[in-house]
């Protein structure tokens, strides 16, 4: 087992407890209803928080486990693929509806978002390298923007459990998030570019 700093250890432990507490808080019937009552709360608050919980969990994994997983995840490729596929599923309108209609699907959502999106994302992101990360960002952000725009422009109600105006708000939220992240990434890369040694 590789040595790890004491401060680092403490951070991991805090992260793990934080993840467990946050997960329990999100799973409470009260907060589930509050967040799932509106589409934007479901899509852009609850689902991202579940992913963040997975990221915290991954940091608290014993190094042995991370190392064993890394053998199957060279360059972060398979992990990021898993995270992309699993997160895409929960953007399908039917999947959102199914989580509201069926307790089994709700459980599946609470399990898969941390374990199949958050954990592999955290384990793969740094391994991806600059080009890999750029590739993922350049694909994911336009996809979010298109899905958000589709939710805004759809002539029909795509979710049986949400009102049309909520669908428009959620779509606008997703589109705005994609644009904001895109601008942030662009700014960051320009700043890095300015400091980078000219090769």
């Amino acid at each position: 087992m590789p040595p790890r700093g004491k401060a680092g250890d403490r951070r991991m432990v805090i992260g793990a407890y934080g993840a467990i507490l946050a997960f329990a808080a999100l799973a409470l019937p009260w907060s589930r209803h509050a967040l799932e009552r509106v589409m934007i709360g479901h899509m852009l608050v609850q689902i991202p928080l579940l992913v963040v919980i997975g990221v915290l969990m991954a940091r608290a994994l014993p190094p042995g486990v991370s190392a064993r997983l890394a053998k199957w995840n060279a360059g972060g490729v398979s992990g990021i693929l898993l995270a992309l596929i699993a997160s895409s599923w929960w953007m399908v309108p039917r999947a959102l509806d199914s989580a509201l209609a069926s307790p089994a699907m709700e459980v599946a959502k609470f399990v898969t978002l941390p374990l199949l999106v958050g954990v592999p994302l955290a384990l793969s992101w740094s391994a991806l390298g600059g080009i890999g990360r750029g590739f993922v960002i350049a694909n994911v952000l336009p996809m979010w923007a298109v899905v958000g725009w589709a939710y805004m422009a759809a002539p029909v109600r795509v979710c049986n459990y949400y009102l049309v105006d909520q669908q428009v708000i959620a779509g606008l939220g997703l589109l705005s998030l994609a644009v904001a992240l895109g601008v942030a990434v662009a700014l960051m890369s320009f700043r890095h570019g300015a400091h980078a040694p000219t090769v």
Partner: protein, 210 residues
């Protein structure tokens, strides 16, 4: 990074990709249904559904059940009388079918394709349904309007049809809207879009009359 990890990673990626593809394929009925409404239509077309025998009351206060239509296909929709969005479109579609049927079988109600509009608003009483029927010059015989007598039955009926009704904050409801075809055995057999032309509705019912 040791090169020995790449073969395993490629295997893992293939497994993930295949499993993900299978999940999306199954979860969207072969990429045919990304919304619950599309999923409902695919599922019903694949296997017709039996419906609960709930007690209904028509616009004249007469009690009946769906059993009464056994042996003939019926066209059913779900509306409420105060609706301003989807229901007027549905009722317009029903009106076009009703007119076409009257033109085809003038005065012969027994041969006209039966239409049934069921309300899910507990406040829709027979007089309100009668008034609504008047708006669409429905005859009240080949095209009837009904409410479910018992509210618990209503939930059961809506569930059987997979109709989800949610209340709007300003009053009123939002709901999935479609034209439903019941076959001769009283099963829910087809779900058609509310924009379906009347001749196609009649043809879909014809297809269920055996």
């Amino acid at each position: 990074m040791p090169n020995g990890q790449w073969p395993r990673t490629i295997v893992a990626s293939l497994v993930i990709g295949l499993a993900g593809g299978a999940l999306f394929w199954r979860g969207t009925d072969g990429f045919r249904a990304v919304t619950s409404e599309q999923a409902r239509r695919v599922a019903i077309a694949a296997s017709p559904r039996s419906l609960p025998a709930v007690d209904l009351e028509d616009q004249n206060g007469r009690s009946f059940t769906l059993e009464e239509y056994r042996g003939r296909p019926v066209i059913v929709d779900f509306v409420y009388t105060q609706c301003r969005l989807a229901c007027p479109l549905l009722s317009d579609a029903f009106q076009r079918v009703a007119r076409a049927e009257q033109a085809k079988w003038p005065g012969d109600v027994d041969r006209q394709l039966p239409l049934l509009s069921i309300t899910f608003d507990p406040e829709d009483t027979p007089p309100r349904l009668r008034e609504y029927a008047g708006h669409y010059s429905a005859d009240g015989r080949s095209w009837r309007f009904a409410r479910v007598k018992d509210q618990r039955d209503l939930a059961q009926l809506l569930r059987a049809f997979d109709i989800v009704v949610i209340r709007e904050p300003q009053g009123g409801f939002q709901h999935n809207a479609a034209i439903h075809v019941l076959d001769v055995q009283g099963r829910l057999a087809r779900v058609l879009d509310l924009g379906t032309p009347s001749e196609d509705v009649a043809r879909a019912a014809e297809g269920q009359s055996r």
